[in-house]
């Protein structure tokens, strides 16, 4: 059942119940961000320290275990990735 900010009150599930599984991905936590990480690819050594510490799984990783650019729909801008990066390959910038 699709519920969105246009759903009328008499068509909505009671108490905000979510009556199906696997839909956390539809919730865009990226809206909460005030600072955003910027990936500086030329500094990145693909050391693999950043993506395991991301609480939102916002750093997509290829099958070859190489990170790619951020999923900004999920990234809340917490800055943990920038803290763990030893190579100045991630900078936090105000949006």
């Amino acid at each position: 059942m699709e519920i969105n900010p246009n759903t009328p009150y008499n068509k909505i599930t009671i108490g905000g119940n979510i009556c199906e599984a696997g839909n956390a991905k539809n919730f865009k936590t990226g809206d909460w961000r005030s600072v955003a990480p910027k990936w500086i690819e030329e500094n990145c050594k693909q050391c693999g320290l950043c993506f395991p510490v991301c609480p939102e799984d916002a750093i997509p990783v290829t099958k070859e275990q190489k990170r790619t650019d951020y999923d900004y729909d999920a990234c809340k801008g917490c800055g943990i990735c920038a803290k763990v990066c030893p190579f100045k390959a991630i900078e936090m910038k105000e949006e």
């Binding site: 900010p5 009150y9 008499n10 909505i12 009671i14 108490g15 119940n17 979510i18 009556c19």
Partner: protein
């Protein structure tokens, strides 16, 4: 054949719970409701119910455990009084907003402070708009009957709201009176099996409850909850009809006692209605046309029905057993005067705050109210001092 017994209000409530045989009871003892979980826990120990009894460490936890149980798909009940309900307050609102039809026995007692263990309705009035259906009971029979009807109302698919059955602390809860009980199998058939549509332990349909509900949604969810409270009016009457077929005992939103041809009347709830009936009888014997409206269903509030039922009166006294410290009278007075105004009925109304902290309200007191009403009825002017006290000591 029904069973004739002699029981206190607390015994009748515990026995009703035994017949309902809920899946979970979570409760914490507090005077004067303590006996309810106490008696019920003996039923659990004796194996006469299948209920999981959770001896929690506070009333906040009692309501939390009921919420968890009900959300999981179980039928959950609790009992409390006074500050126990106050401590539950946070979870009382969660229960209704999650639309969980938990049933509570509330044995009315004054909210502290200063500390008092006796009856008034300040505990119930503290949760009056928290999304719970609230039924009031004149005596042990009504406390029992309301409880037997409770789940059918609360669990109805167009309602799905929690429900509390109120009775007066000590006055009703600890007084032994005659009572007619319904046979166990008939109660079981009447109450029925709890079959929630969505519940957490249903592995076929995963469910999340109580998610974050920000600007785009909370308004809509509250409006849906308000609709459910409106829907409850119809369901309450349907269940009362079925109950009458089963027992012969008739229930509605309120009881009209010699109201039809009355010129003046009292409106009140719970045990005081019994005293008021005796007072009405005494005054009727002297030829005075007085009546009573005893409110049973306080939430949802049957505003239009009350306004129509009292429209013919020349004056009405609304008795509140809880003061509202707001300089404009008690809750019942505000609700009923609002109902009159909105329904374009003009009846002179006066408010009496009475019975606070278990202060006894006798027939003499109520006779004084009726005499005041007869004076108000004949006066050309607006009601002098509409916010009054009954039985308060005061030096003029």
């Amino acid at each position: 054949m029904s069973i004739r017994e002699r029981l206190s209000g607390n015994e009748a409530t515990a026995l009703g719970m035994k017949q309902i045989n809920p899946d979970v009871v979570a409760a914490f003892p507090i005077t004067p409701s303590t006996e309810i979980p106490q008696y019920f826990s003996t039923f659990v120990s004796n194996g006469s119910v299948d209920t999981e009894f959770v001896a929690v460490e506070s009333e906040h936890s009692a309501m939390s455990a009921c919420i968890g149980a009900e959300a999981a798909g179980a039928r959950a009940m609790t009992a409390t009084s006074s500050n126990g309900l106050a401590l539950m307050w946070e979870m009382v609102n969660i229960a209704s907003s999650l639309r969980l039809p938990i049933v509570m026995a509330l044995v009315n007692r004054a909210i502290s402070g200063p500390l008092n263990i006796h009856c008034d309705h300040s505990d119930a009035m503290g949760v009056r708009d928290a999304g719970w259906i609230m039924l009031f009971s004149e005596n042990n029979q009504e406390a029992y009957d309301n409880l037997i009807m409770a789940h059918r109302i609360a669990e109805h698919k167009e309602v799905l709201l929690p429900l509390m059955v109120c009775q007066d602390g000590f006055i009703t809860s600890h007084s032994i009176e005659n009572i007619e009980l319904i046979e166990d199998d008939k109660v079981k058939a009447f109450v029925g099996k709890y079959e929630p549509k969505d519940y957490l332990l249903n592995k076929k349909n995963p469910l999340s409850i109580g998610p974050l509900d920000l600007q785009a949604y909370l308004f809509e969810h509250k409006a849906a909850e308000a609709d459910a409270m409106r829907n409850a009016k119809k369901v309450i009457l349907e269940v009362a009809d079925d109950f009458e077929k089963l027992t012969g005992r008739k229930y509605s939103f309120f009881e009209e006692y010699k109201l039809e041809d009355a010129e003046v009347a009292i409106i009140c709830m719970n045990s005081t209605a019994g005293t008021a009936k005796a007072t009405v009888d005494e005054l009727r014997d002297k030829g005075v046309k007085v009546g009573l409206l005893k409110l049973r269903v306080f939430r949802p509030f049957p505003a239009e029905e009350i306004a129509n039922a009292i429209a013919h009166l020349k004056a009405v006294a609304i008795l509140d057993r809880a003061d509202s410290l707001n300089a404009v009278g008690g809750v019942l007075f505000q609700d009923i005067t609002s109902a009159l105004y909105v329904n374009n009925k003009n009846v002179k109304a006066v408010n009496y705050i009475y019975g606070i902290g278990g202060r006894d309200t006798k027939m003499d007191d109520l006779e004084k109210v009726y005499n005041d009403l007869l004076e108000i009825k004949d006066s050309e002017n607006k009601v002098e001092n509409p916010y009054r006290y009954l039985g308060l000591r005061k030096e003029d």
